[in-house]
Symmetry: C2
Subunit: 277 residues, 2 copies
DNA sequence: TCGACGATAATGTATGTACATAATCTTTCG
DNA sequence: CGAAAGATTATGTACATACATTATCGTCGA
Protein backbone atom coordinates (compact mmCIF):
# COMPACT_ATOMS: atom_id res chain seq x y z
CA UNK A 1 0.00 0.00 0.00
CA UNK A 2 2.31 2.77 -1.22
CA UNK A 3 4.27 2.70 2.01
CA UNK A 4 2.55 5.79 3.29
CA UNK A 5 1.09 4.77 6.59
CA UNK A 6 3.51 5.62 9.34
CA UNK A 7 1.19 5.19 12.26
CA UNK A 8 -1.64 2.83 12.92
CA UNK A 9 -2.13 -0.53 11.33
CA UNK A 10 0.72 -2.34 13.02
CA UNK A 11 -0.85 -5.52 11.88
CA UNK A 12 -2.67 -5.53 8.57
CA UNK A 13 -5.27 -3.14 7.28
CA UNK A 14 -8.34 -3.58 9.37
CA UNK A 15 -10.55 -4.28 6.42
CA UNK A 16 -12.63 -2.46 3.96
CA UNK A 17 -10.97 0.89 3.28
CA UNK A 18 -11.19 2.59 -0.09
CA UNK A 19 -7.67 1.57 -1.14
CA UNK A 20 -8.22 1.70 -4.88
CA UNK A 21 -4.73 2.01 -6.41
CA UNK A 22 -3.66 5.45 -7.68
CA UNK A 23 -4.34 4.84 -11.32
CA UNK A 24 -7.11 7.41 -11.47
CA UNK A 25 -7.52 9.67 -14.48
CA UNK A 26 -9.50 12.45 -12.70
CA UNK A 27 -10.22 15.79 -14.30
CA UNK A 28 -7.58 16.99 -16.72
CA UNK A 29 -4.69 18.74 -15.06
CA UNK A 30 -5.79 17.77 -11.62
CA UNK A 31 -3.72 14.67 -11.21
CA UNK A 32 -1.48 15.15 -8.19
CA UNK A 33 1.47 12.90 -7.62
CA UNK A 34 -0.66 11.27 -4.98
CA UNK A 35 2.48 10.55 -3.07
CA UNK A 36 2.25 11.29 0.61
CA UNK A 37 5.51 11.85 2.38
CA UNK A 38 4.88 9.54 5.29
CA UNK A 39 5.83 12.14 7.87
CA UNK A 40 3.33 12.57 10.69
CA UNK A 41 -0.38 11.80 10.76
CA UNK A 42 -2.20 11.08 7.53
CA UNK A 43 -4.36 14.18 7.64
CA UNK A 44 -1.25 16.32 7.94
CA UNK A 45 0.31 14.55 5.01
CA UNK A 46 -2.81 15.28 3.01
CA UNK A 47 -2.70 18.92 4.07
CA UNK A 48 0.88 19.19 2.91
CA UNK A 49 0.17 17.37 -0.32
CA UNK A 50 -2.74 19.64 -1.17
CA UNK A 51 -0.92 22.79 -0.09
CA UNK A 52 2.00 21.65 -2.18
CA UNK A 53 -0.14 21.30 -5.29
CA UNK A 54 -1.37 24.83 -4.79
CA UNK A 55 2.05 26.19 -4.00
CA UNK A 56 3.52 24.64 -7.09
CA UNK A 57 0.80 26.19 -9.16
CA UNK A 58 -0.71 22.86 -10.21
CA UNK A 59 -3.97 23.94 -8.59
CA UNK A 60 -4.50 27.62 -9.22
CA UNK A 61 -6.44 30.22 -7.34
CA UNK A 62 -10.16 29.92 -7.90
CA UNK A 63 -9.82 26.47 -9.37
CA UNK A 64 -11.96 23.68 -8.14
CA UNK A 65 -10.26 20.68 -6.68
CA UNK A 66 -11.35 17.06 -6.64
CA UNK A 67 -14.12 16.24 -4.22
CA UNK A 68 -13.61 14.36 -1.02
CA UNK A 69 -14.47 11.00 -2.50
CA UNK A 70 -11.98 11.45 -5.32
CA UNK A 71 -9.21 12.68 -3.03
CA UNK A 72 -10.04 9.80 -0.75
CA UNK A 73 -9.42 7.17 -3.38
CA UNK A 74 -6.56 9.17 -4.86
CA UNK A 75 -4.60 9.14 -1.64
CA UNK A 76 -5.96 5.84 -0.45
CA UNK A 77 -7.46 7.10 2.79
CA UNK A 78 -11.00 7.37 4.07
CA UNK A 79 -13.25 10.30 3.32
CA UNK A 80 -13.17 11.45 6.96
CA UNK A 81 -9.44 11.78 6.87
CA UNK A 82 -9.57 13.78 3.67
CA UNK A 83 -12.40 15.82 5.16
CA UNK A 84 -10.38 16.67 8.23
CA UNK A 85 -7.39 17.80 6.20
CA UNK A 86 -9.41 19.84 3.73
CA UNK A 87 -11.66 21.33 6.41
CA UNK A 88 -8.59 22.47 8.33
CA UNK A 89 -7.06 24.05 5.25
CA UNK A 90 -10.37 25.81 4.67
CA UNK A 91 -10.54 26.97 8.27
CA UNK A 92 -7.06 28.38 7.86
CA UNK A 93 -8.19 30.30 4.83
CA UNK A 94 -6.37 28.42 2.06
CA UNK A 95 -9.48 26.91 0.57
CA UNK A 96 -13.09 27.92 0.21
CA UNK A 97 -15.76 25.26 0.38
CA UNK A 98 -19.36 25.44 -0.76
CA UNK A 99 -21.78 22.62 -0.41
CA UNK A 100 -22.78 20.97 -3.58
CA UNK A 101 -20.48 23.32 -5.47
CA UNK A 102 -17.18 21.94 -4.25
CA UNK A 103 -13.84 23.06 -2.86
CA UNK A 104 -11.88 25.91 -4.41
CA UNK A 105 -8.47 27.41 -3.95
CA UNK A 106 -8.95 30.69 -2.11
CA UNK A 107 -8.24 33.75 -4.17
CA UNK A 108 -7.61 36.68 -1.91
CA UNK A 109 -4.80 36.50 0.56
CA UNK A 110 -4.56 40.23 0.59
CA UNK A 111 -5.55 40.97 4.16
CA UNK A 112 -4.01 37.92 5.66
CA UNK A 113 -0.79 39.53 6.73
CA UNK A 114 -0.70 40.18 10.42
CA UNK A 115 1.70 41.80 12.83
CA UNK A 116 1.92 40.43 16.33
CA UNK A 117 1.96 43.03 19.05
CA UNK A 118 4.09 41.96 21.95
CA UNK A 119 4.62 43.18 25.45
CA UNK A 120 7.52 45.62 25.54
CA UNK A 121 9.10 43.79 28.44
CA UNK A 122 9.20 40.57 26.45
CA UNK A 123 10.72 42.31 23.47
CA UNK A 124 13.47 43.92 25.47
CA UNK A 125 14.23 40.73 27.34
CA UNK A 126 14.34 38.72 24.13
CA UNK A 127 16.85 41.19 22.77
CA UNK A 128 19.07 40.30 25.69
CA UNK A 129 18.77 43.76 27.22
CA UNK A 130 17.84 44.85 30.70
CA UNK A 131 14.23 45.86 31.01
CA UNK A 132 13.07 48.39 33.59
CA UNK A 133 10.06 50.59 34.02
CA UNK A 134 9.11 53.47 36.24
CA UNK A 135 5.68 54.70 37.28
CA UNK A 136 5.65 58.45 36.91
CA UNK A 137 2.12 59.27 37.89
CA UNK A 138 -0.94 57.62 39.31
CA UNK A 139 -4.37 59.14 39.96
CA UNK A 140 -7.99 58.23 40.32
CA UNK A 141 -10.76 59.99 38.43
CA UNK A 142 -14.38 59.54 37.62
CA UNK A 143 -15.08 59.39 33.93
CA UNK A 144 -16.07 62.80 32.62
CA UNK A 145 -14.43 64.66 35.49
CA UNK A 146 -11.12 65.91 34.18
CA UNK A 147 -10.70 62.94 31.92
CA UNK A 148 -12.83 61.20 29.33
CA UNK A 149 -12.86 57.59 28.22
CA UNK A 150 -15.35 57.54 25.38
CA UNK A 151 -16.49 53.93 25.59
CA UNK A 152 -17.18 54.12 29.32
CA UNK A 153 -20.26 55.56 31.07
CA UNK A 154 -19.78 58.85 32.90
CA UNK A 155 -19.00 58.53 36.57
CA UNK A 156 -17.16 55.22 36.26
CA UNK A 157 -14.08 55.27 38.50
CA UNK A 158 -10.83 55.19 36.54
CA UNK A 159 -7.23 54.68 37.57
CA UNK A 160 -4.76 56.55 35.43
CA UNK A 161 -1.13 55.53 35.20
CA UNK A 162 1.81 57.11 33.48
CA UNK A 163 4.84 54.96 33.01
CA UNK A 164 8.21 54.90 31.25
CA UNK A 165 9.91 51.79 29.90
CA UNK A 166 13.66 51.40 29.57
CA UNK A 167 15.96 49.14 27.62
CA UNK A 168 19.48 49.04 29.08
CA UNK A 169 18.68 52.29 30.81
CA UNK A 170 17.55 54.11 27.66
CA UNK A 171 13.92 55.20 27.61
CA UNK A 172 12.17 53.51 24.70
CA UNK A 173 8.50 53.75 25.43
CA UNK A 174 6.08 55.99 27.22
CA UNK A 175 2.79 54.54 28.43
CA UNK A 176 -0.34 56.33 29.47
CA UNK A 177 -3.00 53.97 30.74
CA UNK A 178 -6.57 54.12 31.97
CA UNK A 179 -7.96 51.20 33.97
CA UNK A 180 -11.66 50.61 34.58
CA UNK A 181 -11.97 50.23 38.36
CA UNK A 182 -15.42 48.72 38.07
CA UNK A 183 -13.86 45.72 36.34
CA UNK A 184 -10.54 45.47 38.22
CA UNK A 185 -11.02 47.10 41.64
CA UNK A 186 -8.03 45.23 43.10
CA UNK A 187 -5.70 47.38 41.04
CA UNK A 188 -5.87 50.17 43.63
CA UNK A 189 -3.96 47.95 46.07
CA UNK A 190 -1.21 47.18 43.61
CA UNK A 191 1.90 49.31 43.79
CA UNK A 192 3.49 48.16 40.52
CA UNK A 193 6.89 48.13 42.18
CA UNK A 194 7.83 44.90 40.50
CA UNK A 195 5.27 43.91 37.91
CA UNK A 196 4.49 46.25 35.04
CA UNK A 197 0.86 47.26 34.67
CA UNK A 198 0.43 45.51 31.32
CA UNK A 199 1.74 42.26 32.74
CA UNK A 200 -0.31 42.58 35.89
CA UNK A 201 -3.49 43.10 33.92
CA UNK A 202 -2.82 40.26 31.53
CA UNK A 203 -2.35 37.91 34.46
CA UNK A 204 -5.44 39.21 36.19
CA UNK A 205 -7.97 39.53 33.40
CA UNK A 206 -7.69 36.48 31.22
CA UNK A 207 -9.17 36.06 27.77
CA UNK A 208 -9.58 39.67 27.01
CA UNK A 209 -9.81 40.84 23.44
CA UNK A 210 -8.35 44.07 22.21
CA UNK A 211 -8.30 46.49 19.35
CA UNK A 212 -5.28 48.39 18.24
CA UNK A 213 -4.42 51.42 16.23
CA UNK A 214 -0.87 52.16 15.17
CA UNK A 215 0.19 55.51 13.75
CA UNK A 216 3.23 57.70 13.44
CA UNK A 217 3.37 61.03 15.29
CA UNK A 218 5.93 63.72 15.95
CA UNK A 219 7.07 63.84 19.56
CA UNK A 220 5.80 66.83 21.52
CA UNK A 221 8.35 68.78 23.50
CA UNK A 222 7.27 67.08 26.71
CA UNK A 223 7.45 63.57 25.29
CA UNK A 224 10.72 64.32 23.57
CA UNK A 225 12.20 65.34 26.90
CA UNK A 226 10.97 62.17 28.59
CA UNK A 227 12.21 59.91 25.83
CA UNK A 228 15.50 61.75 25.37
CA UNK A 229 15.09 62.79 21.75
CA UNK A 230 14.62 66.12 19.99
CA UNK A 231 11.16 67.54 19.74
CA UNK A 232 9.48 66.43 16.53
CA UNK A 233 11.22 63.06 16.35
CA UNK A 234 9.06 60.44 14.70
CA UNK A 235 7.42 58.11 17.19
CA UNK A 236 5.28 55.03 16.87
CA UNK A 237 1.99 55.49 18.67
CA UNK A 238 -0.01 52.43 19.63
CA UNK A 239 -3.48 52.77 21.08
CA UNK A 240 -4.94 49.65 22.60
CA UNK A 241 -8.31 49.14 24.18
CA UNK A 242 -8.86 45.86 25.94
CA UNK A 243 -12.29 44.34 26.54
CA UNK A 244 -13.51 41.61 28.83
CA UNK A 245 -17.06 40.31 28.54
CA UNK A 246 -17.75 43.31 26.31
CA UNK A 247 -16.72 45.75 29.01
CA UNK A 248 -13.69 47.99 28.47
CA UNK A 249 -10.92 47.03 30.87
CA UNK A 250 -8.05 49.26 29.98
CA UNK A 251 -7.14 51.89 27.42
CA UNK A 252 -3.47 52.51 26.74
CA UNK A 253 -1.40 54.81 24.63
CA UNK A 254 2.12 53.67 24.01
CA UNK A 255 4.59 56.05 22.45
CA UNK A 256 7.92 54.69 21.27
CA UNK A 257 10.89 56.34 19.66
CA UNK A 258 10.94 55.50 15.98
CA UNK A 259 14.51 54.34 15.71
CA UNK A 260 14.54 52.41 18.98
CA UNK A 261 11.42 50.35 18.49
CA UNK A 262 9.62 48.65 15.64
CA UNK A 263 6.92 46.13 15.10
CA UNK A 264 7.70 43.11 13.04
CA UNK A 265 6.37 39.73 12.20
CA UNK A 266 5.95 37.21 9.48
CA UNK A 267 2.98 35.43 8.00
CA UNK A 268 0.96 33.72 6.01
CA UNK A 269 -1.38 32.95 8.92
CA UNK A 270 0.51 31.27 11.72
CA UNK A 271 -1.05 28.01 10.66
CA UNK A 272 0.71 28.01 7.33
CA UNK A 273 4.01 27.93 9.11
CA UNK A 274 3.07 24.58 10.53
CA UNK A 275 3.00 23.28 7.00
CA UNK A 276 6.57 24.53 6.59
CA UNK A 277 5.94 25.72 3.08
CA UNK B 1 -32.83 15.39 26.16
CA UNK B 2 -32.19 18.93 27.36
CA UNK B 3 -33.56 20.46 24.19
CA UNK B 4 -30.10 21.18 22.92
CA UNK B 5 -29.96 19.54 19.57
CA UNK B 6 -30.83 22.00 16.84
CA UNK B 7 -29.70 19.93 13.94
CA UNK B 8 -29.82 16.29 13.21
CA UNK B 9 -32.09 13.81 14.91
CA UNK B 10 -35.27 14.83 13.18
CA UNK B 11 -36.72 11.57 14.26
CA UNK B 12 -35.57 10.14 17.55
CA UNK B 13 -32.05 9.66 18.84
CA UNK B 14 -30.38 7.08 16.70
CA UNK B 15 -29.45 4.92 19.55
CA UNK B 16 -26.84 4.42 22.11
CA UNK B 17 -25.25 7.78 22.89
CA UNK B 18 -23.85 8.56 26.33
CA UNK B 19 -26.86 10.65 27.42
CA UNK B 20 -26.41 10.35 31.16
CA UNK B 21 -28.46 13.22 32.69
CA UNK B 22 -26.50 16.24 33.93
CA UNK B 23 -26.49 15.35 37.60
CA UNK B 24 -22.74 14.88 37.73
CA UNK B 25 -20.69 15.98 40.72
CA UNK B 26 -17.30 16.17 38.94
CA UNK B 27 -14.25 17.74 40.49
CA UNK B 28 -14.98 20.53 42.95
CA UNK B 29 -15.45 23.87 41.29
CA UNK B 30 -15.54 22.39 37.87
CA UNK B 31 -19.27 21.97 37.51
CA UNK B 32 -20.32 23.94 34.45
CA UNK B 33 -23.96 24.73 33.87
CA UNK B 34 -23.79 22.02 31.25
CA UNK B 35 -26.41 23.94 29.34
CA UNK B 36 -25.68 24.26 25.67
CA UNK B 37 -27.34 27.12 23.89
CA UNK B 38 -28.73 25.16 20.99
CA UNK B 39 -27.34 27.53 18.40
CA UNK B 40 -25.38 25.92 15.59
CA UNK B 41 -23.58 22.60 15.52
CA UNK B 42 -22.95 20.71 18.73
CA UNK B 43 -19.19 21.06 18.61
CA UNK B 44 -19.58 24.82 18.31
CA UNK B 45 -21.93 24.87 21.26
CA UNK B 46 -19.35 22.96 23.25
CA UNK B 47 -16.65 25.38 22.18
CA UNK B 48 -18.76 28.30 23.34
CA UNK B 49 -19.69 26.59 26.57
CA UNK B 50 -16.07 25.83 27.43
CA UNK B 51 -14.84 29.25 26.33
CA UNK B 52 -17.62 30.75 28.44
CA UNK B 53 -16.50 28.88 31.54
CA UNK B 54 -13.02 30.25 31.06
CA UNK B 55 -14.23 33.72 30.26
CA UNK B 56 -16.36 33.85 33.36
CA UNK B 57 -13.41 32.81 35.44
CA UNK B 58 -14.93 29.48 36.48
CA UNK B 59 -12.03 27.70 34.86
CA UNK B 60 -8.89 29.68 35.47
CA UNK B 61 -5.63 29.87 33.59
CA UNK B 62 -3.47 26.83 34.16
CA UNK B 63 -6.31 24.84 35.62
CA UNK B 64 -7.04 21.39 34.38
CA UNK B 65 -10.44 20.77 32.92
CA UNK B 66 -12.48 17.56 32.89
CA UNK B 67 -11.32 14.93 30.47
CA UNK B 68 -13.10 14.11 27.26
CA UNK B 69 -15.11 11.28 28.74
CA UNK B 70 -16.38 13.49 31.57
CA UNK B 71 -17.22 16.37 29.27
CA UNK B 72 -18.89 13.91 27.00
CA UNK B 73 -21.30 12.70 29.64
CA UNK B 74 -21.61 16.18 31.13
CA UNK B 75 -22.88 17.67 27.90
CA UNK B 76 -24.54 14.51 26.69
CA UNK B 77 -22.63 14.16 23.44
CA UNK B 78 -20.14 11.62 22.14
CA UNK B 79 -16.46 11.76 22.93
CA UNK B 80 -15.61 12.55 19.30
CA UNK B 81 -17.75 15.64 19.36
CA UNK B 82 -16.13 16.82 22.56
CA UNK B 83 -12.76 15.96 21.09
CA UNK B 84 -13.41 18.06 18.02
CA UNK B 85 -14.49 21.06 20.06
CA UNK B 86 -11.61 20.86 22.50
CA UNK B 87 -9.05 20.10 19.85
CA UNK B 88 -10.14 23.17 17.92
CA UNK B 89 -9.91 25.37 21.00
CA UNK B 90 -6.46 23.97 21.58
CA UNK B 91 -5.45 24.58 17.97
CA UNK B 92 -6.64 28.15 18.37
CA UNK B 93 -4.44 28.53 21.41
CA UNK B 94 -7.04 28.71 24.17
CA UNK B 95 -6.18 25.38 25.68
CA UNK B 96 -3.09 23.26 26.06
CA UNK B 97 -3.37 19.50 25.88
CA UNK B 98 -0.92 16.87 27.01
CA UNK B 99 -1.47 13.18 26.66
CA UNK B 100 -2.13 11.35 29.81
CA UNK B 101 -1.82 14.64 31.72
CA UNK B 102 -5.00 16.27 30.50
CA UNK B 103 -6.29 19.55 29.12
CA UNK B 104 -5.40 22.89 30.68
CA UNK B 105 -6.46 26.48 30.22
CA UNK B 106 -3.66 28.26 28.36
CA UNK B 107 -1.81 30.85 30.37
CA UNK B 108 -0.05 33.26 28.07
CA UNK B 109 -2.17 35.39 25.87
CA UNK B 110 0.51 37.99 25.62
CA UNK B 111 1.63 37.61 22.07
CA UNK B 112 -1.76 36.88 20.64
CA UNK B 113 -2.59 40.39 19.55
CA UNK B 114 -2.13 40.90 15.86
CA UNK B 115 -2.53 43.70 13.37
CA UNK B 116 -3.70 42.90 9.88
CA UNK B 117 -1.85 44.66 7.09
CA UNK B 118 -4.10 45.47 4.20
CA UNK B 119 -3.59 46.66 0.68
CA UNK B 120 -3.75 50.43 0.52
CA UNK B 121 -6.21 50.34 -2.36
CA UNK B 122 -8.63 48.27 -0.32
CA UNK B 123 -8.35 50.58 2.64
CA UNK B 124 -9.04 53.69 0.61
CA UNK B 125 -11.93 52.08 -1.22
CA UNK B 126 -13.47 50.84 2.00
CA UNK B 127 -13.33 54.38 3.32
CA UNK B 128 -15.50 55.39 0.40
CA UNK B 129 -12.76 57.46 -1.17
CA UNK B 130 -11.34 57.46 -4.67
CA UNK B 131 -8.16 55.49 -4.97
CA UNK B 132 -5.52 56.31 -7.56
CA UNK B 133 -1.87 55.58 -8.02
CA UNK B 134 0.88 56.79 -10.28
CA UNK B 135 4.10 55.07 -11.33
CA UNK B 136 6.90 57.57 -10.98
CA UNK B 137 9.86 55.50 -11.97
CA UNK B 138 10.70 52.13 -13.37
CA UNK B 139 14.11 50.61 -14.03
CA UNK B 140 15.87 47.31 -14.37
CA UNK B 141 19.08 46.48 -12.51
CA UNK B 142 21.17 43.51 -11.68
CA UNK B 143 21.58 42.92 -7.98
CA UNK B 144 24.77 44.50 -6.71
CA UNK B 145 25.01 46.94 -9.61
CA UNK B 146 23.73 50.25 -8.29
CA UNK B 147 21.26 48.56 -6.03
CA UNK B 148 21.43 45.83 -3.42
CA UNK B 149 18.78 43.39 -2.25
CA UNK B 150 20.47 41.54 0.59
CA UNK B 151 18.54 38.26 0.41
CA UNK B 152 19.14 37.84 -3.31
CA UNK B 153 22.25 36.53 -5.09
CA UNK B 154 24.33 39.10 -6.94
CA UNK B 155 23.53 39.43 -10.59
CA UNK B 156 19.87 38.55 -10.26
CA UNK B 157 17.81 40.86 -12.50
CA UNK B 158 15.59 43.20 -10.55
CA UNK B 159 12.78 45.50 -11.59
CA UNK B 160 12.51 48.62 -9.45
CA UNK B 161 9.29 50.61 -9.22
CA UNK B 162 8.51 53.86 -7.52
CA UNK B 163 4.89 54.65 -7.05
CA UNK B 164 2.58 57.12 -5.30
CA UNK B 165 -0.86 56.30 -3.91
CA UNK B 166 -3.66 58.83 -3.60
CA UNK B 167 -6.87 59.02 -1.62
CA UNK B 168 -9.34 61.54 -3.11
CA UNK B 169 -6.38 63.13 -4.86
CA UNK B 170 -4.27 63.54 -1.75
CA UNK B 171 -1.02 61.59 -1.68
CA UNK B 172 -1.06 59.19 1.24
CA UNK B 173 1.58 56.63 0.53
CA UNK B 174 4.86 56.32 -1.29
CA UNK B 175 5.99 52.90 -2.47
CA UNK B 176 9.43 51.79 -3.52
CA UNK B 177 9.45 48.22 -4.74
CA UNK B 178 11.96 45.66 -5.98
CA UNK B 179 10.73 42.66 -7.94
CA UNK B 180 12.77 39.54 -8.55
CA UNK B 181 12.67 39.02 -12.31
CA UNK B 182 13.87 35.45 -12.00
CA UNK B 183 10.63 34.60 -10.25
CA UNK B 184 8.19 36.84 -12.13
CA UNK B 185 9.70 37.56 -15.56
CA UNK B 186 6.29 38.51 -17.01
CA UNK B 187 6.34 41.69 -14.99
CA UNK B 188 8.50 43.42 -17.61
CA UNK B 189 5.56 43.32 -20.03
CA UNK B 190 3.13 44.86 -17.57
CA UNK B 191 2.62 48.60 -17.78
CA UNK B 192 0.72 49.02 -14.50
CA UNK B 193 -1.61 51.49 -16.14
CA UNK B 194 -4.64 50.01 -14.43
CA UNK B 195 -3.60 47.48 -11.83
CA UNK B 196 -1.33 48.52 -8.98
CA UNK B 197 1.89 46.51 -8.62
CA UNK B 198 0.90 45.04 -5.26
CA UNK B 199 -2.37 43.80 -6.65
CA UNK B 200 -0.78 42.49 -9.79
CA UNK B 201 1.78 40.51 -7.84
CA UNK B 202 -0.75 39.11 -5.43
CA UNK B 203 -2.84 37.85 -8.32
CA UNK B 204 0.19 36.42 -10.04
CA UNK B 205 2.17 34.82 -7.27
CA UNK B 206 -0.26 33.03 -5.00
CA UNK B 207 0.48 31.62 -1.59
CA UNK B 208 3.41 33.78 -0.84
CA UNK B 209 4.44 34.40 2.71
CA UNK B 210 5.83 37.67 3.93
CA UNK B 211 7.59 39.36 6.75
CA UNK B 212 6.96 42.89 7.84
CA UNK B 213 8.60 45.59 9.81
CA UNK B 214 6.78 48.72 10.85
CA UNK B 215 8.55 51.78 12.21
CA UNK B 216 8.12 55.51 12.49
CA UNK B 217 10.46 57.84 10.61
CA UNK B 218 10.73 61.53 9.88
CA UNK B 219 10.03 62.43 6.27
CA UNK B 220 13.09 63.46 4.28
CA UNK B 221 12.80 66.65 2.27
CA UNK B 222 12.26 64.67 -0.90
CA UNK B 223 9.55 62.46 0.56
CA UNK B 224 7.90 65.40 2.23
CA UNK B 225 7.64 67.15 -1.11
CA UNK B 226 6.11 64.10 -2.75
CA UNK B 227 3.62 63.53 0.03
CA UNK B 228 2.78 67.19 0.45
CA UNK B 229 3.86 67.64 4.06
CA UNK B 230 6.64 69.55 5.76
CA UNK B 231 10.03 67.93 6.03
CA UNK B 232 10.36 65.99 9.25
CA UNK B 233 6.68 65.02 9.46
CA UNK B 234 6.23 61.67 11.16
CA UNK B 235 5.58 58.86 8.72
CA UNK B 236 4.77 55.21 9.08
CA UNK B 237 7.30 53.05 7.30
CA UNK B 238 6.39 49.52 6.38
CA UNK B 239 8.95 47.16 4.92
CA UNK B 240 7.63 43.95 3.45
CA UNK B 241 9.51 41.11 1.89
CA UNK B 242 7.46 38.48 0.16
CA UNK B 243 8.64 34.91 -0.43
CA UNK B 244 7.43 32.14 -2.67
CA UNK B 245 8.85 28.65 -2.37
CA UNK B 246 11.55 30.17 -0.19
CA UNK B 247 12.64 32.56 -2.92
CA UNK B 248 12.26 36.31 -2.41
CA UNK B 249 9.67 37.71 -4.79
CA UNK B 250 9.38 41.34 -3.92
CA UNK B 251 10.71 43.79 -1.39
CA UNK B 252 8.71 46.93 -0.73
CA UNK B 253 9.05 50.04 1.34
CA UNK B 254 5.82 51.87 1.99
CA UNK B 255 5.94 55.33 3.49
CA UNK B 256 2.69 56.87 4.68
CA UNK B 257 1.93 60.21 6.24
CA UNK B 258 1.28 59.73 9.94
CA UNK B 259 -1.96 61.61 10.19
CA UNK B 260 -3.44 60.28 6.97
CA UNK B 261 -2.84 56.60 7.50
CA UNK B 262 -2.87 54.15 10.37
CA UNK B 263 -2.91 50.44 10.95
CA UNK B 264 -5.68 49.03 13.05
CA UNK B 265 -7.24 45.78 13.92
CA UNK B 266 -8.79 43.76 16.67
CA UNK B 267 -8.03 40.41 18.17
CA UNK B 268 -7.80 37.75 20.14
CA UNK B 269 -6.93 35.55 17.21
CA UNK B 270 -9.52 35.80 14.50
CA UNK B 271 -10.93 32.52 15.63
CA UNK B 272 -12.03 33.91 18.95
CA UNK B 273 -14.23 36.33 17.14
CA UNK B 274 -16.17 33.45 15.72
CA UNK B 275 -17.10 32.55 19.23
CA UNK B 276 -18.46 36.06 19.65
CA UNK B 277 -17.11 36.40 23.11
C1' DT C 1 -39.57 31.02 -21.90
C1' DC C 2 -39.55 31.12 -17.35
C1' DG C 3 -40.47 29.55 -12.93
C1' DA C 4 -41.34 25.96 -9.63
C1' DC C 5 -39.83 21.88 -7.89
C1' DG C 6 -37.67 17.75 -7.28
C1' DA C 7 -33.32 15.04 -7.97
C1' DT C 8 -28.57 15.17 -7.18
C1' DA C 9 -24.11 16.00 -5.70
C1' DA C 10 -21.17 18.07 -2.72
C1' DT C 11 -19.83 19.27 2.01
C1' DG C 12 -21.05 19.15 7.16
C1' DT C 13 -22.01 16.87 11.54
C1' DA C 14 -22.54 13.15 14.87
C1' DT C 15 -21.69 8.67 16.61
C1' DG C 16 -19.40 4.11 17.32
C1' DT C 17 -15.29 1.58 17.27
C1' DA C 18 -10.61 0.52 17.40
C1' DC C 19 -6.20 1.28 18.11
C1' DA C 20 -1.82 4.43 18.67
C1' DT C 21 0.87 7.36 21.50
C1' DA C 22 2.72 9.42 25.32
C1' DA C 23 2.88 10.65 30.04
C1' DT C 24 2.36 9.47 34.49
C1' DC C 25 1.82 6.45 38.20
C1' DT C 26 2.85 1.97 40.42
C1' DT C 27 5.20 -1.92 41.30
C1' DT C 28 8.92 -4.78 41.42
C1' DC C 29 13.50 -6.16 41.83
C1' DG C 30 18.45 -5.49 42.32
C1' DC D 1 16.43 3.09 48.04
C1' DG D 2 16.39 3.70 43.36
C1' DA D 3 15.97 2.51 38.83
C1' DA D 4 13.69 -0.27 35.41
C1' DA D 5 9.55 -2.33 33.90
C1' DG D 6 4.88 -2.49 33.51
C1' DA D 7 0.01 -0.76 34.12
C1' DT D 8 -2.95 3.04 33.51
C1' DT D 9 -4.97 7.06 31.69
C1' DA D 10 -5.83 10.77 28.67
C1' DT D 11 -5.37 12.44 24.26
C1' DG D 12 -4.65 11.51 19.06
C1' DT D 13 -5.76 9.33 14.68
C1' DA D 14 -8.29 6.53 11.43
C1' DC D 15 -12.24 4.47 9.55
C1' DA D 16 -17.10 3.16 8.82
C1' DT D 17 -21.69 4.67 8.89
C1' DA D 18 -25.56 7.51 8.76
C1' DC D 19 -27.87 11.39 8.09
C1' DA D 20 -28.29 16.78 7.54
C1' DT D 21 -27.74 20.70 4.76
C1' DT D 22 -27.46 23.32 0.76
C1' DA D 23 -26.38 24.69 -3.80
C1' DT D 24 -26.99 23.50 -8.33
C1' DC D 25 -28.90 21.23 -12.23
C1' DG D 26 -32.72 19.43 -14.95
C1' DT D 27 -37.12 18.78 -15.98
C1' DC D 28 -41.70 19.64 -16.38
C1' DG D 29 -45.59 22.48 -16.68
C1' DA D 30 -48.10 26.90 -17.17
Amino acid sequence: MQGLARQGLTGQNRGNGPASPPDHPLQAGLTPDSTLDGRGPLFDQIKRAVAGQILRGRWQAGQRLPNEAELSSLYGVSRQTVHKAIALLAREGFLVRRRRAGTFVATSRRDRFALPIEDIGDVVARDGRVYEFRIRDRKIFRNGEGIRWPDLPDGTPILTLECLHFSDGTPIQHERRLVNLDVVPEVVDESFDVVAPSRWLVDRVPWSSADHTVRAVNATAEMAALLGVEAGAACLSIRRQTMHLSRPVTLVHFLSVGDRFSLSGSSITDSATELNL
